[in-house]
């Protein structure tokens, strides 16, 4: 792809900046030496306008014209310093990064702390080089602001946040000041849940007999479509005229049977497909409020039914057999 000199220059500058960039756990304070500043497009336009004003003032020997021209020139120069100051000494640290499923957008939370007594206006954080849609925030004096960075999570595992930019054009939009920061932020990406709900639930890993979904008797938990072999007393006749479909009532037992979700119950499938399926089962089991355990090669999580357990299981799936590339 042919590159214009401008693009080439940009790339070289970026390479230079990135060479100096270190991945740090944070918090990072934005120092003077690391703030880059160039005129924005509006700034160049403003410069052109001031130059035309200067020519006009010269042509008409207009003293007040000169005065206004010089005032605007001074305003531009002063604004440059204010734009620079707007980022100076801001401190950036990493916040919570909620896990996501592969294919979703991972969200990194960033906290901007302002240790100074000056309010910072319209500061933005973004990954992309030209992020017009970056949300702008104010960081009050001695205060903090929360920013969210969103990036596509294509595959399960640990997603490391790339370097991001903190930038601003306040106060006059004439200059664009920015800095690059690379915080050591990682987000757990769960496998993409399989969507074939027809897959039979996993074979029991212990000796609890049949899966408890049909075996339950006490608590009505919902309807599902009729399958061959279902007892006729479980058929929900009332919905037949409305839907034209045979529905079967489902009951769950208040005394939970232990449900084992086992890697080995899915033989002959690829690793990722297996993980996806296990992920689906974990989600279904969790939603059904069941107690479930997870068995992976070299890992066994005992049955439980808490939010924490759900996360542990999904994380185990996410990190299963990952090459240790992020040491």
């Amino acid at each position: 792809m042919p590159t214009t000199p401008r693009q080439y220059l940009r790339r070289r500058i970026r390479e230079y900046i990135f060479r100096r960039l270190k991945r740090v756990p944070g918090p990072v304070t934005i120092r003077r030496q690391r703030i880059y500043i160039v005129p924005s497009r509006f700034g160049y336009l403003f410069g052109l306008m001031v130059f035309l004003m200067l020519l006009g003032s010269m042509n008409y020997s207009n003293s007040m014209g000169f005065a206004l021209t010089f005032l605007l020139t001074g305003l531009g120069l002063v604004a440059m310093h204010h734009t620079h100051r707007n980022l100076l000494n801001l401190s950036v640290r990493s916040g919570r990064h909620a896990p996501v499923f592969a294919g979703q957008n991972a969200e990194f939370q960033l906290v901007l702390d302002n240790p100074a007594a000056t309010h910072r206006y319209a500061v933005a954080v973004s990954f992309a080089e030209a992020a017009d849609d970056a949300t702008l925030l104010d960081v009050p004096a001695h205060g903090s602001a929360l920013s969210r960075l969103s990036i596509h999570a294509p595959a399960r595992g640990l997603l490391s946040s790339p370097a991001f930019r903190v930038h601003t054009e306040y106060p006059m939009g004439l200059f664009h000041a920015w800095t690059w920061i690379e915080l050591d932020m990682q987000c757990v990406v769960y496998p993409r849940p399989a969507d074939n709900r027809q897959q039979p639930p996993p074979a029991p890993g212990g000796d609890s007999g049949k899966p408890d979904r049909i075996g339950g008797k006490e608590d009505f938990i919902g309807l599902r479509s009729y399958q061959r072999g279902d007892a006729s007393r479980l058929i929900h006749w009332k919905t037949l005229p409305r839907t034209g479909q045979l529905m079967v009532k489902q009951f769950a037992d208040p005394i939970q049977h232990e449900l084992w979700l086992d890697w080995d119950s899915l033989p002959g499938l690829e690793t990722e497909t297996r993980l996806s399926q296990l992920c689906r089962w974990v989600l279904d089991a969790h939603r059904a409020g069941k107690s479930y355990g997870l068995v992976l090669p070299g890992l066994r999580l005992d049955p439980a039914s808490s939010e924490q357990h759900r996360h542990s299981c999904l994380e185990a799936l996410a990190l299963f057999n990952l090459p240790k590339q992020t040491a």
Binding site: Y60, M64, F70, L72, G74, V78, R93, L137, G173
Partner: protein, 651 residues
């Protein structure tokens, strides 16, 4: 920047735009002023009632129609006024497609540009205050749209804009003084359509001077560097006229080079510094009789100072004059012929009267005296509103019928009488009198001081100034126009305020204006060179060097101050400070407070994580909440307890 425009931002923008544009309503064609106003109001209503914006076709058609109409109104597009008009209409049309915040920035930039065009029309103090005030408004709006996530309050943006502008002012001053100025126009179309200014003209007809009688516009300001002349000597020489065409006076044929005029000054030299208001002609006004003019000026045949260029800007110059002199004791035949020119028709009775004097009076000077005696003793009146005179023999009509006239009538009639009697004579126009300004120690000469008199050439004396008006109304010469007129007329003459305080204020205001004109508006290449030489800065190279160093120096200081403002600072509130200390201690132990956590939530989480610290954490957070958020009065004892607890908090 792509956010839709908030209504309040839009309203402020429209108001600001109105302020920026309004002064142009003086020069814009009426239809354009109406159009622009309607569009401003309409754009506001669109936002209020959610009307639809017009389509591209409607906008385009209207815009083209407006530009054609502008062209028809101005006749051409390359003049200053047409340019400003185009700019204003352009901005108005930009409003019809302004929906995004980004569109505003362009409108605001054009607003800055419109502001500078005001200075083409006027550079008075009032205009400058208006324009620089508007700069703050435009800048405040620029701040507002640079913060598109939610409009900032007008108070904040105005304060910030004022701070920015105030910080830019020193840079402006440095650049104003030090930026190398170059003379003259760059592309040379500047002034051909200067606004019509009242003032002396290059011909004199009855009424041409009396119409100035009511104008309080300043013609010139004069500072005497030595002694000032007596009131009766304060004649300011302007253009002279040689040729009478039966009705009015004209300069006559000026093609031949002024012959070397011989002046024999007698008495003291009077040096003056004059600030002349622009009048579009070449002449330079100075005290009669100007002998040494500024560089680049010459004298014409009537010893009028002539500049090489028309005076289109205020001009500051020094002249040396003499009130006692002997001027051109020998008259060349050519000039004598011109000074005796009379049309061969009309004003028969005037000629007869002159001939009669020629017979009865022994010398030329006696004839002059006879004429003055006639004006003085017979019932001639001095008035701003003389009756109309007959077309063919106007001067006969004046001398023998109406006998009411202003100075041009008397000067004209007297000069004709002299010529008819064979005495070389010419009409001189200029100003007479002037008002002393104590505040600035200078004289203001206004258009209402415009005057006309005669010069006659007498054997042995050369040209002698004769003012026939002085014979009719001596008060005019001694005390000014208002004193010489009847009471009813006098009240219409400007500058005759009776209230002392107002008079004083006017004097100070005029002085301020004079300083403004002399030192700021006239600051061009010459003044810059003269001023900077005092500091040893002599050429462009040095100017640029000093300018660069001082601007960089100022910005370094400003940068330092801003750096200092952005430094890490512990909050001033001791309660907040103690709480911050406590939080940072916990943060060191892997328990940082999350930004969304209030003190209670944080304390709960911390006690769960470190049950061993629970009593201290609960105590400290409890004290903090009480000190910070409780309605009861601030308890100094609690603060002491908090300090103590934080100091002893060592997990």
């Amino acid at each position: 920047m792509t956010e839709p425009l908030a209504n309040w931002t839009l309203f402020r923008l429209l108001a600001c735009l109105a302020i920026v544009i309004v002064p142009h309503f003086q020069s814009l064609p009426v239809w354009a002023s109406v159009l622009v106003s309607v569009m401003l109001v309409w754009r506001g209503l669109v936002a209020i009632f959610h009307w639809r914006m017009p389509s591209v076709w409607v906008r385009g058609t209207l815009a083209i129609a407006a530009f054609i109409a502008l062209f028809l109104s101005y006749g051409r597009m390359n003049s200053q006024e047409a340019g400003a008009g185009l700019l204003v209409v352009m901005v108005a049309f930009k409003l019809t497609e302004m929906v995004k915040v980004r569109d505003c920035s362009l409108v605001l930039m054009l607003s800055y540009f419109i502001l500078i065009t005001h200075f083409l029309a006027s550079q008075e103090i009032v205009t400058a205050v208006y324009v620089f005030g508007s700069v703050i408004l435009v800048t405040a709006l620029l701040l507002e749209i640079s913060h598109p996530q939610g409009p900032l309050s007008a108070r904040i943006t105005l304060r910030h804009a004022s701070v920015l502008v105030a910080q830019a002012v020193p840079l402006m001053l440095l650049m104003f003084v030090l930026f190398p100025r170059i003379p003259g126009p760059l592309w040379g179309i500047p002034h051909e359509e200067s606004r019509g200014r009242t003032g002396l003209s290059n011909s004199m007809e009855p009424g041409s001077i009396s119409k100035l009688g009511l104008s309080d516009e300043v013609a010139l300001r004069v500072t005497f560097l030595d002694e000032r002349p007596k009131p009766s000597q304060r004649y300011w020489r302007g253009p002279s006229f040689w040729t009478f065409d039966g009705k009015g006076w004209h300069p006559g044929n000026e093609t031949q080079q002024a012959s070397a005029t011989r002046i024999a000054p007698e008495g003291m030299a009077i040096r003056q510094e004059i600030m002349l208001e622009p009048h579009k002609h070449n002449w330079l006004i100075a005290l009669d009789l100007p002998v040494e003019g500024p560089p680049g000026s010459t004298h014409d045949n009537a010893h009028q100072l002539i500049s090489d260029k028309p005076v289109l800007e205020r001009k500051l110059y020094q002249v040396t004059s003499y009130t006692d002199y002997r001027y051109q004791p020998e008259l060349s035949p050519d000039l004598r012929a011109r000074a005796l020119q009379l049309p061969g028709f009309g004003n028969k009775r005037l000629r007869e009267l002159a001939q009669q004097w020629r017979q009865s009076e022994p010398t030329d000077r006696d004839i002059v005296n006879a004429a003055l005696r006639m004006f003085n003793s017979e019932d001639f009146f001095y008035t701003l509103e003389p009756p109309l005179l007959s077309n063919t023999s106007g001067m006969d009509d004046f001398l023998f019928n109406t006998r009411r006239g202003f100075c041009e009538h008397y000067a004209s009639a007297f000069t004709l009488l002299m010529r008819a009697a064979g005495i070389p004579a010419r009409v001189v126009t200029g100003y007479q009198g002037g008002e002393y300004n104590e505040a600035g120690n200078y004289f203001i000469v206004r258009q209402s001081d415009a005057h006309a008199w005669s010069e006659v050439w007498l054997q042995g004396d050369g040209w002698v100034r004769i003012d026939p008006t002085a014979a009719v109304a001596p008060e005019r010469i001694e005390s000014g126009l208002a004193a010489a007129l009847s009471e009813g007329e006098a009240s219409t003459v400007p500058g005759s305020s009776n209230i002392y305080l107002i008079y004083q204020l006017e004097a100070y205001w005029d002085w301020t204006n004079a300083v403004w004109n002399r030192s700021i508006l006239a600051y061009g290449p010459e003044l810059q060179q003269r001023f900077l030489e005092r500091f040893g800065i002599r050429d462009w190279y040095q100017m640029t060097l000093v300018l660069t160093i001082s601007v960089v120096g100022f910005l370094a200081i400003l940068g330092g101050i801003l750096l200092w403002q952005a430094r890490k600072q512990i909050a001033d509130d001791p309660v907040v400070r103690e709480w911050g200390r406590f939080c940072s201690i916990l943060a060191r132990h892997k328990l940082p407070r999350l930004p969304h956590e209030g003190p209670r939530d944080f304390a709960q989480r911390a006690t769960r994580a470190r049950p061993d610290l629970a009593p201290e954490i609960t105590r400290i957070s409890g004290l903090y909440v009480k000190l910070r958020y409780s309605d009861t009065d601030f308890d100094i004892e609690n603060l002491r307890r908090l300090k103590h607890a934080v100091r002893r908090f060592k997990p």
